[in-house]
Symmetry: C2
């Protein structure tokens, strides 16, 4: 029996790699003053329909539970955020700067960079309408990538402004009800033939083509890039109005992060969604908000393809695998004494292992090395003294059991 | 809209409490030389039926996915462990000492200590038939509780031996096919009237009653208690053959952990299941194994009820909430310079926050205190000097921007 298609088992090495990604995500979010929160894995299906329309159900792991509730395994976090913020926003000072790390599920065709179960970092700022929040969020997204060892030659944040397009549509007297449709045509234009796009756009084809080829002017985007320059991050970004992001609910700055080679799918994406919390809470609470999500799958592929990033991950995995101390029991009469010391050492938070069964001494030293122990401690004839061996240098000293903790403290800390 | 019944939202304070529990769980498992792994949240329903019989489905969040697969949200980890170990055991040295921290789901009536979504620590040892592994596992379970601040007056591990009962049934010529049924009657006897139990047990009623009232003798149990004594943990355990654990697949030592007051449900439980991996892998791989699981719900209740444990948790939550540095922007002309410093400080892994918008200086200091900052750094008239204020003592110094990092390093590390 195997895992279901699109689902992963995390053997210890994989799990250590995953934990490395989580811990870097968490570090950077905390540096930015974000606080961690989380929601349930299962939510009422209605929550997702409300945001994305009834057709979303075809991409969900959704079902009726034993109490006849229509439920879905969460495909994204934003609807839960809106639900939780609407219920609790009065308890917190604005803006909220919240992040979360967790599992998400989509029933979709398996392909490179897409799985049915994956992990995401979500970072959101709620309750701040000013552009300074957009800049802070983009900077955070950039720093999350830099912490893995990527630089401005590896990744690019393409930033756009939905308002640039709504202004454009307004100038061309396009009725509001057609905006979503036209935005989606523009969003897809990079992946479709110019003729097909032109046909769909009708009389807007020419002006849109001009913008798509020459770029567009947005003061907002200029300001974002400028503010990122003050932080030394301008080389990571590119104002590019061709990014519109398909989702209808974005209202301002939107952005997507790519590897510069263009080989992979977007690593992260997000933007401002000022009306969504109001809409999802049926108007109970209306608050400006913005956020981004970064998945572990494309990021993991990118880390594996970049030697420097890969080495950082592998070094972390190697370090995490190592134990501190291996206890060599050379005389079985000393096992009880060894167990008492093992207990004391573990209480000091050392990672300690030992042979569960009587084992030849050379075999025990071999295990000590396989487990990456820094020190082996030998319980044998010298009791109440123990042999303390530095496994890197080979140095061995006889230490009285009463001095063992102090001795190790000096050696290892 | 609320979370589904039995599911929890984790606001930042709740999430910090949850992370505290996870990080203590992880610490202790690592001390014992366990390595972390994980599996998917969704598995083929068959995996659970195979272990627990078809009736398990009534307690599962199970459904047919869009590809017509019968799938279930995992109620426990052991079947996944058996699946993964059967597929990969050759890649690892025995015994495997694996732990995992994750979410589990059961569709059941909500009641105190039981939710539909909860978290569990799972620790398993695979590939070791000797009792030394059982002792190691029980010691780990005890130390996981001690790390939260519980002592031998707070918790008790009741240890039993399934083999004691199988020996008993054999002596009384009970056919093997009735063993499971009789074990379950004995398991339930504490919660049922003696008459009803006697009726169900028939001619075994008297000898069973004798054992349940006077206790039973098991050399194995004596050895476990003795070995725990060498570690100083004997006062945490009690040999008690009345614990049989309902589940049919246990084959040797079994144990359950309770609070001494008896007010709460079991905090953790586990035991040896030497035949399960073979059974779940259709005989492909047969390996002795043992493990335990501890949930976050009862543990969380117990922590809240014990002042010392509660204070440890709250101190961790308070510490986790604090930022290191708050940047006070006294002159808006200095915002760009402040942003460059903020970037540099965050790269040093300091947790840094600042006002996104122009804000009066006293208000900024107030925010700094609310966020628990240790130091406020003031950007104003003294540029390129900045005011560095220790918010605990009120001391303030003027520091050149070029010396800021070194100065903070000295102050904070």
């Amino acid at each position: 029996m195997q895992a279901l298609p699109g689902f992963r088992d995390f053997l210890p090495g994989d799990c250590a790699g995953r934990n490395y990604i989580f811990s870097r995500w968490r570090d950077v979010a905390l540096r930015y003053g974000f606080v961690e929160w989380d929601g349930p894995i299962l939510e009422p299906t209605e929550l997702y329909k409300k945001k994305s329309g009834p057709e979303i159900v075809t991409q969900l792991f959704s079902f009726a539970d034993k109490g006849e509730r229509e439920v879905a395994m969460r495909p994204e976090l934003t609807p839960t955020l809106a639900r939780v913020v609407a219920a609790h926003e009065r308890e917190f000072k604005k803006p909220l700067k919240w992040f979360s790390i967790g599992r998400f599920f989509r029933y979709e065709k398996q392909q490179r960079g897409r799985l049915r179960e994956h992990f995401q970092l979500n970072c959101d700022i709620v309750g701040e309408a000013e552009m300074a929040a957009d800049v802070e969020l983009v900077a955070l997204a950039i720093d999350v990538l830099r912490v893995f060892g990527f630089n401005e030659h590896d990744v690019i944040v393409r930033i756009s402004d939905r308002q640039f397009w709504t202004d454009f549509l307004q100038e061309h007297d396009v009725p509001v009800e057609r905006w979503d449709e036209l935005m989606q045509i523009i969003d897809k234009s990079e992946r479709e033939s110019p003729d097909k796009t032109a046909e769909k756009l009708g009389k807007l084809a020419d002006p849109v083509q001009t913008i798509l080829s020459r770029g567009g002017k947005s003061e907002k985007l200029d300001r974002v890039v400028n503010d990122l320059r003050a932080r030394g991050l301008a080389n990571f970004v590119e104002a590019d109005v061709r990014i519109v992001r398909g989702l209808a609910y974005y209202t301002g700055i939107v952005f997507e992060v790519f590897d510069r080679t263009g080989k992979l799918r977007a690593i992260a994406g997000g933007g401002r969604y000022d009306n969504l919390i109001g809409q999802l809470s049926d108007g109970a609470v209306s608050m400006p908000a913005l956020g981004f999500a970064m998945g572990d799958v494309v990021l993991g592929e990118m880390i594996r393809e970049h030697p420097a990033a890969r080495e950082k991950l592998e070094a972390a995995v190697r370090a995490g695998k190592k134990i501190d101390l291996y206890i060599v029991i050379a005389k079985e009469e000393r096992r009880g004494d060894a167990m008492a010391q093992i207990q004391a050492l573990r209480e000091r938070n050392y990672k300690v292992d030992y042979p569960l069964l009587p084992t030849k001494v050379p075999k025990q030293f071999q295990t000590a090395e396989q487990l990456g122990a820094r020190v082996a401690i030998l319980f044998g004839d010298e009791w109440p003294g123990v042999g303390v061996k530095d496994l890197a240098t080979g140095d061995q000293q006889l230490v009285s059991k009463d001095d063992l903790l102090t001795h190790l403290e000096r050696m290892l800390r």
